[in-house]
Amino acid sequence: MKNETRYQIVISGVGGQGILFITRLLAEAAIEKGLPVFTSETHGMAQRGGTVISHLKVGEFASPLINPGQADGLIALKAESLTQHGGYLKPGGWAAVNSSAPLEMQAPSRPFYLDADRLTREMDDPRSLNLIMLGFTLSSVQRGDFDHGVLHCSLGDVETVLENRLKGKGHLLQSSLRALKAGADSAAAA
């Protein structure tokens, strides 16, 4: 029982990609379900295009950081994030990676790849990459045949959080939902 409500996810990329925003959506989805949650974020100089990493811990935890080798999953908004932060994954963990081609993995894991840069260009909305990757992740891990749950929330849960957060910002909400869906659809297509 306890295992099912403990998830540790690393989200990494570079400053300016909107990592904080998607971390927050996942954390709020946890609160919606009444689950305790911890996140840790990068602020300051690194946000100017440097390496940025978020830790997300859902369930009974005391501290905000994830130990190397213990993360259930990794969302890599840049291909290089996998090399840098793949070490956080536990054996058998999953990784959703923004890359046009499969990469060599550092840790044994289940990778899912999406060329989100291309998709972002096609959508002509430079700020949508984070949500495309989030949609892709949510949909991929739900499709992957893991023996037990791999994330505390579904695509629908995150949509609800988005709707609450962007209430009254119709245009932004629409484009955000579109990006989320585009990512999710490409997981279906893969």
Binding site: F38, T39, M45, S63, L65, N67, P68, R121, P126
Partner: protein, 605 residues
């Protein structure tokens, strides 16, 4: 005031802000600095939403912020000042003195540390400053505890009439947790300053008395019940114990469970690392043979435990003397302390991406112009986004807030008797100039220092998330304030050469800086204000300039000039550095690169 009871996802800094509001704080001041900046902006946001009657302000620097909040306490109100650890250095003068004089209303000093360091010049431990000042300090392990400790700090401050420090670290400030907002008690206190010159204006003779009083207060605080250390696992017994505070205590709790040591190693969480409780010190030294102390970033609890043989920590060398105590480090330390074998993976260091100025950042254009105008100069610089000018080799020194100007003066005096004197160009941001640059500029005028000062005026405190400056004319809560006129200020300092230009106008701006350099060689200090708004700040306000669409033509021969000297993240090398292209997702359309390619390969579409 009753609030809806629903857990909220709160950043540590938001939780501290919430704590201040719940606990009737009526004056909150700050100077922005990572990781503390969001404290005051959250106070401002919440107080606006709830229509609280508070004074909330971004002060010109930490010393001024401290003194404003402290005077509020002298008038009997509950007040708070927040800053980052190096900001406390700036405010250390009033801090040391205020400790002696004491308080009337509760006064909390929030100084956020940055073990790592992630976004700071040093890893200094503010708790040591509290110890030096002789005031108590509380060390929270999480956003939730940080909020609770605000209330604890006010009680402590008012019980003992002493300033109290709350010392969160980056991992507390910038983590988020589900936190239950509590009830809000708006302040009902009216300001009532009770004159008492022997305290509030004490001369050295009275200061001795105040020092004795302070020592007496500390002795009582060291037996104060509410802040006593907590034995987290009473079921554990053994002759070895672990003592920890702050976020290190949170990691310790998790690691002891991971290692199945929870029932074996007694674990004390310290809430108030200084003064350490007298009875606790006695207990530790009586009950245990070996004691491991896990704390950030200096061994300051360790210092207070006199036994050098039994205490293992930062000072004894068991715990590394520098650096953040990441959870994997703590787990390894605990395993070896308990004598158990454990496989603890650590991260192999892969080179990360270095930060760089945003695509379209006006600072990049300014640095480009400075290097054109004074190619072999000495470039002193300062604290802000523009520190990243070092990637462009346009920043040679970064010391602390305001030092760009005084260091420029120092280099001038060092070289002035030489036949060949280098050009000296200092860069400083608008907020940093107001913070600590002005006295240094007056000094440079007074000494007739031959140098150029380029004030990178992007109309905001960009690095820490766009807080207003005195020239913005906006308060923390968005109301209009009196705007300070930067040009008049510079002229008032006695500067004879002053020009204002837009760095986006590449050619015009280069000749302006050239003229300033020429003036500085023969006459004295010259100031150029490089004025162009931060594009991130503009975007936040929903504004954008008309973008210039740029492209790279066949003329590009892969010389790499634009990467080495300009480094716009939107200009990307492809084909193994044979060619450069523009990444339209990243390009901001500032158009500055049109003037920089030596082959003229960057053109308008």
């Amino acid at each position: 005031m009753k609030q809806a009871v629903r857990k909220e996802l709160m950043m540590g800094n938001e939780a501290i802000a919430r704590g201040l509001i719940e606990n009737s704080c009526s004056v909150a001041t700050a100077y922005p600095g990572t990781p503390a900046s969001e404290i005051l902006s959250s106070v401002a946001k919440t107080s606006k939403q709830l229509d609280m009657n508070m004074h909330i302000q971004w002060a010109i620097n930490e010393k001024v912020a401290f003194e404003i909040a402290y005077a509020g306490s002298m008038a009997g109100l509950r007040t708070a000042v927040s800053m980052k650890q190096v900001g406390l250095n700036v405010a250390s003068d009033p801090l040391m003195s205020a400790a002696y004089m004491g308080t009337a209303g509760g006064f909390v000093i929030i100084s956020a540390d940055d073990p790592g360091p992630h976004s700071s010049q040093t890893e200094q431990d503010s708790r040591m400053m509290a110890m030096m000042a002789k005031i108590p300090v509380l060390d929270p392990d999480s956003p939730r505890q940080a909020k609770d400790m605000v209330g604890m700090a006010y009680t402590l401050s008012e019980t003992f009439k002493i300033p109290v420090m709350l010392r969160p670290t980056t991992r507390v400030c910038h983590s988020r947790q589900d936190v239950l907002p509590g009830d809000i008690f708006p302040s009902a206190t009216k300001p009532d300053f009770k004159k008492d010159p022997s305290r509030w204006a004490a001369t050295p003779k009275f200061r001795y008395q105040l020092h004795l009083e302070l020592e007496e207060k500390l002795a009582q605080i060291a037996v104060h019940k509410a802040t006593e250390p907590i034995l987290r696992n009473p079921e554990a017994n053994g002759r070895r114990a672990v003592v920890s505070s702050g976020v290190a205590a949170a990691y310790t709790a998790e690691s002891l469970k991971n290692l199945q040591l929870w029932n074996r190693l007694p674990f004390y969480q310290v809430l108030q690392p200084f003064p350490l409780h007298t009875a606790f010190i006695r207990l530790l030294l009586e009950a245990y043979d070996k004691i491991l102390i896990l704390e950030e970033t200096t061994g300051m609890m360790e210092i207070q435990l006199a036994d050098r043989n039994r205490i293992k920590g930062r000072l004894s060398g068991v715990v590394p003397r520098a650096g953040e105590l990441l959870p994997e480090k703590i787990e390894a330390l605990l395993a070896s302390f308990a004598g158990v074998e454990a496989q603890i993976p650590s991260l192999t260091q892969a080179p990360g991406r270095r930060p760089t100025l945003c695509a379209g950042c006006p600072h990049r254009a300014s640095f480009f112009a400075i290097k054109k105008a004074a190619p072999r100069g000495i470039y002193t610089s300062d604290i802000g986004c523009y520190t990243l000018g070092l990637n462009l080799k346009a920043v040679d020194t970064v010391l602390c807030m305001g030092a760009a100007i005084s260091q420029a003066a120092g280099f001038y005096h060092a070289y002035k008797r030489e036949e060949k004197r280098p050009d000296i160009v200092a860069t400083i941001g608008d907020s940093t100039f107001f913070h600590a640059g002005v006295p240094a500029l007056i000094d440079a005028v007074n000494q007739n220092v031959h140098f150029v000062l380029v004030i990178l005026d992007n109309r905001t405190t960009a690095m820490t998330g766009s807080q207003p400056t005195p020239a913005t004319g906006k308060s923390a809560t968005g109301e209009a304030l009196v705007k300070v006129d930067m040009e008049a200020l510079v002229k008032g300092c006695g500067v004879a050469f002053l020009e204002v230009g837009d760095p986006y106008d590449t050619k015009g701006f280069i000749s302006m800086v050239k003229a300033a350099v020429a003036f500085s060689r023969s006459k004295g200090p010259a100031v150029v204000i490089a004025r162009h708004p931060c594009i991130i700040d503009l975007a936040r306000q929903g504004k954008t300039a008309d973008p210039v669409e740029v492209m790279v033509t066949e003329e590009c021969d892969g010389c790499g000039f634009c990467h080495q000297h300009f480094e716009c993240p939107a200009l990307v090398e492809v084909d193994d550095g044979q060619r450069t292209v523009v990444d339209p997702l990243v390009c901001n359309g500032c158009g500055v690169c049109l003037d920089i390619c030596p082959n003229g390969a960057i053109v308008e579409k």
